[in-house]
């Protein structure tokens, strides 16, 4: 067995071990200092100086949290506040492509 193979095997072992860890477990050793509060109707008016700058408003609801650092990657769920848009298939020509970039 040469050195390269040994290093590769060690890396594989370490990867397997790390993947068993949850994100939260990995974060437990770090102070959980996040405390972002409720944020609503945050307005962003752009930073350009032109008079025609378009103002737009985005709304984000970030629930107050003290940060749970024990969330498991595999058992977590997402909060989908509203139903996802419907996707349909078509034979028509596409307007755009979506893939890697």
């Amino acid at each position: 067995m040469n050195t390269t193979e040994t290093a590769r095997e060690a890396r594989t072992r370490n990867l397997a071990r790390l993947r068993k860890l949850t994100i939260g477990t990995a974060a437990l050793g770090v102070a959980a200092t996040s405390g972002f509060g409720y944020l609503a109707a945050m307005s962003y008016a752009g930073t350009t100086t032109t008079a025609t700058t378009t103002a737009y408003t985005t709304t984000a609801n970030a629930a107050t949290t003290t940060t749970s650092a024990t969330t498991s990657t595999t058992s977590s769920t997402t909060s989908s506040a509203t139903a996802a848009p419907t996707v349909s298939s078509t034979t028509s020509t596409a307007h755009v492509s979506s893939g890697g970039s």
């Binding site: 990867l15 790390l18 993947r19 860890l21 994100i23 939260g24 990995a26 974060a27 770090v30 102070a31 959980a32 200092t33 996040s34 405390g35 972002f36 509060g37 944020l39 945050m42 307005s43 962003y44 752009g46 930073t47 350009t48 700058t53 378009t54 737009y56 985005t58 984000a60 970030a62 949290t65 940060t67 650092a69 969330t71 498991s72 990657t73 595999t74 058992s75 977590s76 769920t77 997402t78 989908s80 509203t82 996802a84 848009p85 419907t86 996707v87 349909s88 298939s89 078509t90 034979t91 028509s92 020509t93 596409a94 307007h95 755009v96 492509s97 979506s98 893939g99 890697g100 970039s101």
Partner: protein, 314 residues
Amino acid sequence: MLATADWRAIGTGVRLVVNDGDLAAARVAVERVLADVDLAYSRFRPDSELVALNAARGKPVKVSPLLARALVGSLQAARSTGGAVDPTIGRALRITGYDDDFDRIVGTSRPLELRLAPVPGWSVIAFDATARTVRVPTDVELDLGSTGKGLASDLCSEAALAAAGPGAGVLVSLGGDVAVAGRAPDGGWRILMAEDSNDDPDSGGEVVAIERGGLATSSTTVRQWKSDDGVTAHHIVDPRTGLSAETPWRTATVVAETCEAANAASTACIVLGRAAPEWLAQAGLPARLVAQDGTVVRLGGWPEPALDDATAGV
């Protein structure tokens, strides 16, 4: 009537399609948003707010509303994905070799010293949304590339719609992260499922349509590079290892209420790997996953292709 413009910005391809509206005005609005985004949270621009925040060495920093909004999105994504999408991957990305605009690092070859270590984790970020102050510990670097790009598409579509005029509809794609707003054309906004977002939309294959919301694709096959000893890396970091994610999926496409949410979910699918279908079912999001061998898995109401000869692995 549809009008289209294509150009490059923030290191990726931009496509703007306007339905019955003022394309020129919409493009100006999109360019303005992208300039703001670049200044707020580019990781490669020395004068960006994010670079300054990453260099603040643990001191509280007051951030702009736009960067605050982007941070909120990244933290929400981290929570909703159980940390599979994590903004504290910045340092890992840099060590992995993604330390410059991708247009400049692609095709290069250099030594990389990969480090197998979990990223610090999003919970180390102290963010006061009311005061808009953020504290990032020393040696932690943020990267908002995933949710930030989706958010940029959403913001661009909103701005483009406002500029395009009454009754218009718009589609904005930033490297395949698609946000639509306003009145869709008959049959919806049609999107080709491609390996590469630069592929010609006319090139044939599976096409889907949406009327609202966003669609995003994450892929390990396009934005990748090699070290000088032949190690291939890509831009999706597994927060558990700090390395490019090893995953059974080569692409993951998700539709959601916003492009920001779609991008968070598609990135999470790559990182979660085999656990992605279960997570998607809980999230209730339509998704199309392409395995490394080309097998396509359609979930959450994603339709079968309308074309008999649709290329299954594309």
